[in-house]
């Protein structure tokens, strides 16, 4: 049977096991959309209201399942609208395949209508991209793209398809390749056994160790191995923003998130440790603070699948290139074989010190009777959902509070934009999560600034009846910007006041959802409960919160991890 390019596209997606794709049509992708229409039921297309939403939704889908997310947009402005989402996926290592339409091959390079060089534009922010030049290459290209996106360090792959390849004038036999072989791409999954042995020795010899774990644990599905390792050794565990849920937050070995807005005990433990075991984390500047002052006395073990991340910012003593789950499995075998334990007395002393730091109670907040504090809303939501919700976040103070106060015990539940920090991510990502988990409780924690960036996706939520709960922490400011302006710019609040806020309740209702504005702290619990209990409808909860609340602790720019501002 000979198939058109558009049909090959659909059949290839089905062969990859894709059942959901997010997108927005346009001229260059009309033939593809024609075939998508015929495939409805087997391959479901979700129509968003802005291409940025399509890519963020695909990200939410991928981040909550570890499957490859798929999006399709048209040429020109459709493709450029998708760039922010693609850069976001690149920074957070999200497995994504994005299809962009392109003008017919004969018109490429001619300044044609809705033409952009999307391959050139996205080159620095994709794991790889392809321009399909012949219909014969289409199936193999799709196979390669999915392979590249989902293997090694995951990332977004873009496929640019010229319209005339899909128009059906040319038809070829469809043969979806079983395997793909890229001679220049062979991610190293298994850690070097000698390095693993060195690491085991270092772990057993350390006196004040800490496990510094990140997004790599979640991406490689290594939470179980990490939990086993930490408990076997009785070592403290800290998570980066991207690693939350990789270790149960309610477990006593967990000392909280570290970094710029991490807990006092996590940052102090890092600073004073003699062995930092980095697992699936990359020593990002939000974590290290001033790099000259970072972990002055520690030996560093670094487990990462990307060799370029090792010794990039910080010199590593025992590098192990490999998949986190694999390496931890081998490490556990090695440790159990040796049947030794670390110095119990030294560890007991270390825990005594850590518990001393914990007494600072750096995340303590006060909920008065007059004004709602954002921290209280998150804390309540965590209690009411038993810590089991999928929490998607936008970017800003609310994001930091969500990370601090919602304790994640499971991976794949915390969905946020860490590396790029894209405002507007929350709502479309929540859509992707809800579609991947139709019966789950999904929240979008956001702020008055962030929610306005992709607000048009409320229509998508109506069309597909997605009962997301939008928890908007409305303080009337771009909170994080205002906080920096308060600390470092003598309270000159330049452009951080959110003037002319809409009536969010009316706005939500205009889209067919339920809108509630909550001003009284006494009403917080009731409103949250109502939203959680209603599994059919989207609730937009506009919480009016304390306008000049700050996120603490904070490591200011140029300071070391131990130089936190606490209150």
């Amino acid at each position: 049977m000979e198939l058109s390019g558009a049909k090959i596209f659909v059949e290839s997606l089905k062969a990859e096991g894709v059942d959901t794709i997010f997108g927005y049509p346009g001229g260059a992708v009309l033939f593809l959309y024609d075939e998508l229409d015929k495939a409805a039921g087997e391959l479901n297309h979700i129509l968003v209201r802005h291409e940025q939403g399509a890519v963020h939704a695909a990200e939410g889908y991928a981040k909550s399942t570890n499957k490859v997310g798929v999006a399709i947009v048209t040429s020109g402005p459709g493709a450029t609208n998708a760039v922010t989402g693609i850069a976001d996926a690149y920074m957070d290592s999200v497995p994504l395949v994005v299809f962009t339409g392109q003008v017919p091959r004969a018109l490429i390079g001619n300044d044609a209508f809705q033409e952009v060089d999307i391959i050139g534009i996205t080159r620095p922010c994709v794991k790889h991209n392809f321009l399909v030049k012949n219909i014969e290459d289409l199936a193999a290209t799709i196979k390669k793209a999915f392979y590249i996106a989902g293997s090694g360090r995951p990332g977004p792959v873009l496929i640019d398809i010229p319209k005339d390849i899909t128009d059906g004038k040319e038809k070829i036999a469809f043969d979806y390749p079983d395997t793909v072989d890229i001679r220049s791409y062979n991610p190293n999954v298994k850690g070097n056994p000698r390095q693993i042995r060195l690491a085991a020795t270092a772990l057993l010899e350390s006196k004040t160790p800490i496990l510094y774990t990140g997004g790599g644990v979640i991406l490689s599905d290594g939470a179980e191995q990490l939990t086993e390792l930490a408990r076997l050794l009785n070592f403290p565990v800290t998570n980066t923003l991207m690693g939350l849920g990789g270790y149960p937050a309610t477990d006593p070995l967990f000392v909280g998130m570290l970094g710029m807005h991490g807990t006092y005990e996590a940052n102090m433990a890092m600073h004073k440790s003699d062995l930092v075991v980095a697992i699936g984390s990359r020593f990002d500047d939000r974590v290290t603070g001033n790099i000259e002052k970072f972990c002055p006395n520690a030996k560093i073990i670094h487990v990462d699948i990307d060799p370029a991340s090792i010794s990039k910012n910080v010199k590593v003593d025992i590098p192990i290139v490999g998949d986190v789950k694999q390496v931890l499995t081998d490490l556990l075998v090695e440790l159990k074989q040796r049947d030794e334990k670390p110095d119990e007395e030294a560890l007991a002393e270390w825990w005594r010190q850590i518990n001393e730091w914990r007494k600072t109670d750096c995340l303590k907040y006060e909920q008065g009777e007059d004004v709602i504090t954002a921290q209280y809303v998150i804390d309540k939501y965590w209690q009411l959902t038993n810590g089991e919700a999928y929490v998607c976040s936008d970017v800003g103070q609310h994001q930091m509070w969500a990370a601090q106060y919602y304790k994640f015990d499971e991976p794949l539940r915390w969905i946020n934009s860490g590396g790029l920090g894209t405002m507007g991510f929350g709502l479309p990502a929540a859509m992707g999560v809800q579609l991947a988990h139709p019966d789950a409780e999904v929240a979008c924690i956001t702020g008055d600034g962030s929610i306005q960036m992709c607000i048009q996706e409320l229509a998508t939520c109506t069309q597909y009846q997605l009962p997301i709960n939008i928890i908007s922490l409305n303080n009337g400011y771009l909170g994080m910007v205002r906080q920096w302006q308060e600390f470092f710019y003598q309270k000159r609040y330049s452009m951080s006041y959110m003037d002319s806020l809409p009536d969010f309740v009316k706005l939500a209702e205009a889209y067919g959802h339920v809108g509630l504005q909550i001003k009284d702290p006494a009403d917080v619990e009731g409103a949250l409960k109502q939203a959680i209990d209603d599994k059919k409808r989207l609730y937009f909860l506009d919480f009016i919160t304390n306008p000049e609340e700050n996120v603490y602790p904070m490591i200011p720019a140029g300071a070391g991890q131990n130089e936190m501002i606490l209150v």
Partner: protein
């Protein structure tokens, strides 16, 4: 790297995005049609060079990378240089200097001399220095290419 369009762009883009400098660059297909060889000269601390190598390896089209300065190796660059013939005796002078450098005269008119020189970058620098009293009209240098000495060979 794979001999595909976009591969060169990706390498160059990587350098500019990360702020590394390219001092010279040369690229052409190899005896294997599907592969091209890119030779690039850059400068940096040991840590930076290590990062560059790792980042290059990440690129999907890059098959293999080596740092030639790790081995005993040979470097070559080619230069075409056009000189003005001012007086009758400058012809002899130019020809003498060219002979010393084992350079070839590839074009001659009654106003100009065009010479081809090849060798290590330092030799070409010395040639320009030696010709500094003549009127140099134009200098075109290729990128530097290199190959390891002995058995070590860069193959896919």
């Amino acid at each position: 790297m794979e001999n595909e369009s976009g591969a060169l762009s990706r390498v160059v883009g990587l350098f500019s995005a990360r702020g590394y400098n390219i001092e010279s660059l040369s690229v052409a297909p190899t005896d294997d049609d599907s592969l091209s060889r890119l030779t690039l000269v850059t400068r940096g601390s040991e840590q930076i060079v290590e990062q560059i190598l790792k980042q290059l390896n990440k690129l999907i089209e890059v098959v293999k990378v080596t740092d030639l300065s790790d081995f005993k190796h040979i470097e070559r660059e080619m230069m075409l240089i056009k000189l003005e013939v001012r007086q009758a005796d400058s012809v002899a002078t130019i020809k003498q200097i060219a002979d010393v450098f084992r350079a070839k005269v590839i074009d001659l008119s009654h106003k100009t001399f065009t010479i081809e020189v090849s060798g290590k970058g330092e030799k070409l620098d010395a040639f320009i220095e030696a010709m500094s009293e003549q009127n140099i009209l134009e200098v075109v240098r290729s990128g530097c290419i290199g190959i390891a000495r002995g058995n070590i060979a860069l193959k896919a």
